[in-house]
């Protein structure tokens, strides 16, 4: 209950100051039991459990809320929100909120309070957990004589605690006792309460993007560019370490791996930009780092796709799937613990530091293309890769063995990486259109590959169960059926490869590749 301020003069020794709500910011943790012990025996602290809700912070792409001192947290369920202003709860509600979503489509009660342009969308930004324990101070009649809210906000490996104490009208003395008890456990009223919560969690509230745009100058020396790109991507990988260790969301590991893979492809695809010895060493070190998290990522993907697997099979074959997913869940738990331990280990720190050091070292090492201007390298490497893609694709007929289709997929992937790295050097619209066309082909090839990999790994799972002698019949049935379905789907994708390539290799797109990247012709 909100205390109602008495506007009339009070003919007492107690100033109005003492009956206004107090806030206590806590460094470290807060145990209400300790506070309870400091209270006089006549007063009893009612302590409910603190249950924290998984939330995401939400803001516009340019952080308009944070800039105006507001912070919005939305429950993962999308059915609860908390709006803080200058570190104080301003509004709490249980309206449905979809992220990302336009501010103008939010419930009126919330949108009216937000200090941001109505046309902007709110994007999910950081995972966190928020909880508020509402405690009551009771007298000997079990009457509430003061209220204490214990807030907790955690994210990024850190937890903030703060306590809000408010008086109940007419119980000034009890409130004074409560303040004394809070002081006795070392809490200072209104002490250095941060005006913004997220930065206090050391969350990077700058614009996080798994694939940020780098500015590139046409004549930037290729090796200088490669180092810059790699250092940037490594820092993104490292930003995702705490989230991966904490297992907040599988996206952390995903972004971590994407970043490392992109570093590795710079080394592999920027030909002769590093000397042979260096690039071999880096490729090996990066491959080793990636290998450490392969299995966890595979399991994440299975578990994310769990529902779609069930949809592929009729109900009577579900029991085997249930068992398999139980195994996957268990294995994922083990893998997660292993990964968390690895990422926190000294061995890992040394390994990642060695890679970071290589890309940040000066001066540049010698290599034939080290000083080649960025634009030249971009054109020659993209053109070369594009022609390779076309050459392989043109050979593909319905009879071509699957290996060649896999090869096409890998070449397309390399082409895509190169185009993404160098995209700032070319007209945005043109490159966007090319990438979209390429993506159409890649999606087809990607599915073809996924279905094939899935069949293999199901086979591996089956084999392992057999070898251990704990294979149930229903599991074998389900997996057999699943492999059959996946095989049919793979065949369907296979049949579409030629049509998909033809769509990518249209005269218009080909013309556009030629104009952009055929350096000899342009010269």
């Amino acid at each position: 209950m909100l205390p109602i301020k008495v506007a009339t003069k009070l003919s007492t020794d107690i100033s109005t100051e003492s009956d206004s709500p107090r806030r206590y910011f806590i460094t470290g943790s807060f145990d209400p039991q300790v506070l309870a012990r400091k209270l006089s025996p006549k007063l009893q602290l009612q302590i409910p459990d603190l249950s924290a809700e998984k939330v995401q912070s939400a803001d516009t792409f340019d952080n308009q809320l944070l800039k105006s001192g507001q912070e919005l947290f939305v429950a993962e369920s999308g059915e609860q929100f908390w709006l803080f202003e200058k570190g104080r709860l301003k509004l709490q509600g249980d309206d449905k909120i979809a992220l990302p979503g336009l501010i103008m489509e939010l419930p009126d009660s919330l949108s009216a309070q937000l200090q941001a342009d109505e046309i902007r969308a709110l994007l999910p930004q950081h995972p966190a957990k928020i909880g508020c324990r509402k405690m009551a101070l009771l007298d000997d009649q079990k009457k509430t004589v003061a209220r204490i809210n214990h807030w907790q906000l955690s994210g990024n490996d850190k937890t903030l605690h703060w306590v809000e104490a408010s008086p109940v009208r007419g119980y000034v003395k009890s409130f004074a006792r409560l303040q004394e008890a809070l002081a006795a456990i070392g809490l200072q009223s209104n002490a250095t309460m941060p005006e913004r919560l997220l930065p206090s969690l050391r969350l990077k509230v700058s614009l996080y993007s798994a694939k940020p745009d780098f500015k590139i100058a046409d004549n930037e020396p290729a090796q200088h560019l490669a180092r810059r790109l790699c250092s940037g991507m490594l820092s993104i990988a490292r930003l995702n370490e705490p989230g991966t260790i904490k297992d907040l969301d599988s996206e952390f590991l995903h972004d971590y791996r994407v970043s490392l893979r992109r570093v590795r492809s710079v080394v592999a695809l920027f030909s002769k930009v590093f000397n042979e010895q260096d690039s071999q060493r880096m490729k090996a070190e990066l491959a080793d780092l990636m290998r450490r998290t392969n299995r966890l990522r595979d399991l994440d993907v299975y578990l994310l796709e769990k529902e779609s697997y069930f949809k592929l099979l009729p109900k009577h074959l579900h029991s085997g799937l249930e068992k398999m997913f139980r195994d996957f869940t268990r294995e994922r738990g083990n893998q997660q613990r292993k990964t968390a331990k690895w990422l926190a280990s000294d061995d890992y720190k040394q390994a990642i530091l060695s890679v970071e050091k290589f890309f940040s070292q000066q001066p540049l090492s010698n290599a034939p293309n080290a000083a080649t201007p960025a634009l030249g390298l971009a054109k020659s490497s993209i053109w070369k890769r594009y022609r390779k893609v076309c050459a392989i694709a043109k050979e593909i007929t319905p009879e071509t063995p699957d290996e060649q289709v896999h090869d096409l997929r890998i070449q397309c992937k390399k082409l895509r990486y190169l185009m993404e790295f160098f995209s700032p050097l070319f007209p945005k619209k043109v490159i966007k259109k090319q990438i979209r066309a390429l993506k159409g082909l890649q999606d087809n090839l990607g599915r073809f590959n996924d279905f094939s990999v899935q069949q293999e790994s199901l086979h591996d799972y089956l084999k392992r169960k057999m070898e251990r002698g704990n294979l149930d019949l229903d599991v074998a049935d389900s997996i057999g059926a699943l492999r059959l379905v996946l095989n049919q789907q793979q065949r369907q994708e296979r049949d579409r490869v030629m049509a998909c390539f033809a769509r990518f290799h249209s005269p218009e797109i080909h013309q556009s590749f030629e104009t952009c990247f055929d350096h000899k012709r342009n010269a």
Binding site: M1, L10, Q141, K142, K143, T144, V168, R169, G170, Y171
Partner: protein, 247 residues
Amino acid sequence: MKILACYSNKGGVGKTASSVNIAHAFANNGYRTLLCDLDPQGASGFYFRVKPSKKLVDDAFFQDSGRFLKSIRGSDFDNLDLVPANMTFRDFDVFLDRMKNSQSRLRKALKTVKGEYDVVVLDCPPNLSRLSESVFKAADHVLVPVIPTTLSERTFQQLNGFFEEQGFNRKKILPFFSMVQRSKKLHNFTMDKLRKEYKEFCKTTIPFSTDIEKMGIHRAPVSAFASSRVASKSYQSLYGELKKRVL
């Protein structure tokens, strides 16, 4: 700020239960509500676990606005505050007798909180006294719980007669049936009869209910511990009627 007095010149008709539950209903619907216990027995305060006020003694209620304000206690419910009674309230008649304009004293005392509350509910002691005269003067409406029995019928008629005699506005009287037992023929008969004679009776009737009796065990309004029960629902319905007629 509307002042609603819950009054009956007969005891044991469910005055305090009604005051507590009506005040809670207004508060629960967002009205800033003050429940003022004028009955020296202090039953309203007991239901909210609030101890009798120690300092609001003798004539302080009417003379010392600072003391009056300081005696207000926040309840455990949003928007609901209380002025608890104490045994010295039994001498209100004596103090009021000594004061000039005694009939206006209560209204004046309550003026102190004007602007802080939307509704003030007065839980009154059961007699026709100086204090009740102040109540009739101060209140915008006088809610009268009536048990549909012959004796209650008689006292209700007495109250109406008193209003007429003393020149109080009879339109202030807002009666409703309380502790009703539908199984009793006499109850139904008396209700029909009274409704014909006094059109102002509320449509809602409050049943005789063990849930209301259990308020003493839970020490809380009935809707706080038995919200889905008939008793709680009748108070909700009574609140709905009152809101239309008094606000």
